[in-house]
């Protein structure tokens, strides 16, 4: 479930279970994309904070084959131009993400797209690339430089909050108890900026990101999703009797 609460020009979107996004749950994906776009379209909202309930922002997912969604549905909810990740990367408002505990799968993919990331001091963030085909390698390379991105992906070593800060993935590291307050504080800083300036800057940023291949990589996401079964990787949400073969989950 996704809830949005708006106060003083800041929309706080809270995920109750980020693992649903890792599992490519179509309903959850649409709900988050809708929440991001609604906040983006609301002139009363000047910045967005993205949080998750629980000890971990996005704990690892135990593979299940519970979804009955088609590839186009998943594409539309997640990688498409109105899907979760592009709504976040190319949205109209600044998005600040607050990460506590473990952050894997979709949580990490979201962190690559968000504008600012604040991490709790004991948080750890793991590469999303084995489980989330929409995760953007180009963004990872642009954010933390090429070799760090490759090392994160291939070694599968989670980055501590301090390592993420040193690599450029996290903007701030704060004690866990102050995470929400700091995320809201960063959002307020952005909210104090002239909204037209932010909006125009984000349009210009889009040009930069697309010149670096970010948009094209989102377009390639269905191809990566189709490659997951061949790689022996879990493909939650992939199953559709009409449109695809049964997915092979990890045993």
């Amino acid at each position: 479930m996704i809830t949005t609460r708006t106060k003083d020009g800041i929309a706080t979107i809270t995920l109750s279970d980020c693992r649903l996004l890792t599992r490519s749950d179509v309903q959850e994906g649409r709900a988050l994309a809708d929440a991001l776009q609604t906040a983006g379209d609301d002139d009363g909202v000047r910045a967005i904070v993205l949080l998750a309930q629980g000890r971990d922002f996005c704990p690892p997912v135990r593979p299940v084959r519970s979804q009955q969604a088609s590839l186009p549905d998943i594409q539309s909810a997640y990688a498409g131009v109105t899907g979760v990740y592009q709504s976040l990367a190319y949205g109209r408002k600044v998005v600040v993400m607050g990460i506590q505990g473990r952050c894997t799968g979709a949580g990490s993919a979201l962190a690559l797209c968000a504008d600012f990331v604040v991490m709790g001091s004991s948080a750890r963030i793991q590469s999303p690339f084995s489980s989330v085909p929409e995760a953007s390698f180009t963004l990872a390379a642009l954010i933390m430089r090429l070799n760090r991105a490759k090392g994160w992906i291939l070694s599968d070593e989670p980055m501590s909050a301090l390592q993420a800060e040193a690599a450029g993935l996290a903007n701030r590291v704060v004690p866990e108890g102050r995470l929400r307050r700091e995320a809201l504080g960063m959002a307020r800083s952005a909210a104090r900026m002239p909204l037209d300036g932010i909006a125009i800057s984000r349009v210009m940023l889009e040009t930069y990101l697309d010149s670096q291949g970010v948009g094209k990589e989102f377009d390639h996401a269905p191809f990566y999703r189709n490659a997951l079964p061949q790689a022996g990787l879990p493909v939650e949400g992939r199953v559709s009797a009409k449109q695809s073969q049964p997915a092979r989950g990890r045993k």
Partner: protein, 304 residues
């Protein structure tokens, strides 16, 4: 296929580039074994490296490939004082065939040895100690997935001191790894960075004391190789696709070629005269005597 080189370099290459494979761990090793020349790569050595990478790519047992060097240095770059058939008897210029062959290696061409590394389907790891200079820096170290470096490794475009333009400064891939400021600093000063600085800049993944370097690199590679091969293959494909979108492997034509054909500074001309007279080591020694020479402490070559 035509093999470039002279009788000696062709004969010696198999012993100068050693290969081993541990089928149990899935880790293969390419070991540069020309310590008396700081593992400078002759043309046949580069061809052998490319061939070994191709073999590893086709070998399902191999999941990770370590490249290391014996002796005082990892590698000092390409051999620059080499007759490999580039000029026919009585000719002053390269023939078309040899010119293209040389240019392919020097400009990250698709058929060059550097591309074999950067396009490998296996995880590639550099085990770096001592000098990692010139082509070893911009054609091996920056092209592998991981660099594990000793703290006092000396890494950089040291060739820019003698070859004029540091063409690698314009290579997108290198700028993506180091950041543009650091890439320019290395190219425009020819001063090396240490393994520790390489870690800070994002070139190296780990910095490990030289005494433990081989063991730690092997352990690291074996751990990576335990990941399912399908998963590794998928992740490598994602990275290659992403690098394609970033255009990071675009060949760099002008800089490196210009660096070889336009050398007008007296220091550069003097360097090449000294190479002819006393070899590369003699020329480096000569260069240190000049006021404009690289800092003696950093360009003095390997520790005795």
């Amino acid at each position: 296929m035509r093999q470039y080189g002279n009788l000696d370099s062709l004969r010696l290459a198999p012993a100068q580039v050693l290969f081993s494979k541990d089928g149990r761990t899935g880790v293969a090793r390419i070991i540069l074994n020309r310590p008396e020349k700081h593992n400078a790569l002759s043309v046949p050595m580069r061809a052998r490296i490319a061939e070994l990478i191709r073999q590893c790519d086709a070998d399902e047992e191999v999941r990770a490939l370590i490249i290391s060097g014996r002796g005082p240095s990892f590698c000092s770059g390409n051999e620059i004082n080499e007759d490999w058939g580039q000029r026919g008897p009585g000719y002053r210029r390269f023939s078309l065939t040899t010119g293209v062959r040389y240019g392919t290696d020097m400009t990250y061409g698709r058929l060059g040895f550097s591309q074999a590394l950067s396009r490998s389907s296996k995880i590639t790891i550099v085990q770096m100690h001592g000098y990692c200079a010139a082509a070893a820096y911009f054609m091996i170290a920056t092209k592998c997935d991981f660099v594990i470096a000793a703290p006092d490794a000396r890494i950089g475009a040291l060739e820019a001191r003698f070859l004029g333009p540091a063409g690698a400064v314009s290579h997108i891939h290198l700028n993506r790894i180091l950041g543009t400021k650091a890439a320019r600093r290395l190219g425009y000063t020819a001063e090396p960075i240490s393994g520790e600085e390489a870690l800070r800049l994002g070139l190296a993944h780990r910095c490990v004391p030289e005494a433990h370097l081989e063991k730690e690199t092997g352990t690291f590679a074996a751990r990576l190789a335990r990941r399912p091969s399908g998963e590794l293959g998928y992740l490598k494909s994602r990275i290659l696709a992403g690098e394609g979108l970033l255009d990071s492997h675009l060949p760099v034509m002008p800089g490196l070629l210009l660096s070889h054909f336009f050398q007008t500074e007296p220091d550069e001309l003097q360097f090449w005269k000294a190479v002819k007279a006393g070899g590369v080591a003699g020329a480096l020694k000569e260069d240190k005597k000049r006021a404009a020479g690289a800092r003696p402490a950093r360009a003095a070559g390997p520790k005795a």
